[in-house]
């Protein structure tokens, strides 16, 4: 039933939460694996496969960036939402590929629109 509350990528009427993934320059997304955003309301979850902007030089394998994920909830819904992202990343500057898993918890309030800019791919730039 909670699944019925949920979301979806894009075409829902009034998105309440828009998630945008932000990466450092030249960190792109590996299309060979599906980067996903899992949205949890309590113990119920739904997985959203993230699409993006193909790299014109390698459109089959690389997204230059991901499209924002627009998540919609019923107008009267308020409460915590857990987001889990699994992202396939490649750093073209350093010749590195990696998989990142991140979590965030967001408080959604009825009638409010939220925009989350989620910075990812920065750990790859840390040095040993």
């Amino acid at each position: 039933m909670l699944l019925a509350l949920l979301l979806a990528a894009a075409p829902m009427p009034t998105p309440q939460l828009t998630v945008t993934f932000s990466t450092p320059p030249e960190v792109h997304f590996n299309r060979r694996g599906d980067s996903t955003l899992t949205v949890w309301l309590g113990k119920t979850s739904q997985v959203v496969t993230l699409n993006g902007v193909p790299d014109p030089t390698d459109p089959r394998n690389v997204y230059l960036r991901l499209n924002p994920a627009a998540l919609a909830f019923p107008a009267n819904f308020s409460g915590p939402v857990k987001l889990s992202a699994r992202l396939y990343l490649c750093d073209a500057q350093n010749g590195i590929c990696t998989v990142e898993e991140h979590e965030k918890q967001i408080k959604v309030r009825a009638g409010r629109k939220l925009e989350l800019v989620w910075k990812v791919g920065e750990d790859n730039r840390l040095q040993f």
């Binding site: 694996g33 350093n94 590195i96 590929c97 918890q105 750990d123």
Partner: protein, 176 residues
């Protein structure tokens, strides 16, 4: 917006702190199968490779950055093996299609990789070493301690690190 952020956690295959740092003894290699060895059930141990300089390379055949690094490793293996260099590849899958052993064997043949490869489909070694990227290179000295780490492709496309790594390998080989 900011006040709605109650928690921010980075989990990962990744994480911040490196378990294997310069000067430490690396974790024991575990699991299998082993490829390019006499038997798939056993392979060289790092303890058994004391007195050698060892490059432990975390890689996966389908990763272009890993693939492009193989010629550099092959050149070093050819050049320095008789001076005591050994390479151990830890093949860690990124995708399900990377897991079948026959796929890995085919790639080894195709790319002419001859050093021992430990197939780490369960990521046990990846986690034990707290590794988080492909490709990664840990250089271990003759006493068994990690002396250098490099992450990222080493190739004609990414040549910057090669001279330093090779100089260090030569220096470690000279240590008796």
């Amino acid at each position: 917006m900011k006040r709605t952020l109650l928690l921010s956690t980075a989990l990962t295959l990744l994480t911040s702190a490196c378990a294997v740092t310069s000067g430490t003894n690396p974790p024991t290699l575990i699991g299998g199968p082993w490829l390019n060895t006499a038997s798939q059930t056993t392979g060289p141990s790092l303890a058994g490779l004391r007195d050698k300089v060892v490059i432990v390379n975390f890689w996966v055949y389908s990763c272009i950055n890993c693939h492009n690094s193989l010629p550099t490793l092959k050149a070093w293996y050819s050049k320095y093996r008789d001076q005591g260099l050994e390479i151990i590849g830890i093949h860690t899958p990124e995708f399900e299609s990377d897991k079948p052993t026959q796929n890995v064997i085919a790639s080894l043949k195709q790319d002419g990789v001859t050093w021992p490869i430990l197939q780490d489909n369960d990521l046990k070694n990846w986690r034990a070493w707290n590794n988080n990227v492909w490709p990664a290179f840990y250089i271990i000295d003759r006493s068994g301690k990690v002396r250098q780490f490099h992450r990222g492709e080493i190739s004609s496309r990414f040549p910057q690190a090669i001279p330093g790594l090779e100089a260090n390998i030569r220096s470690l080989l000279a240590e008796k």
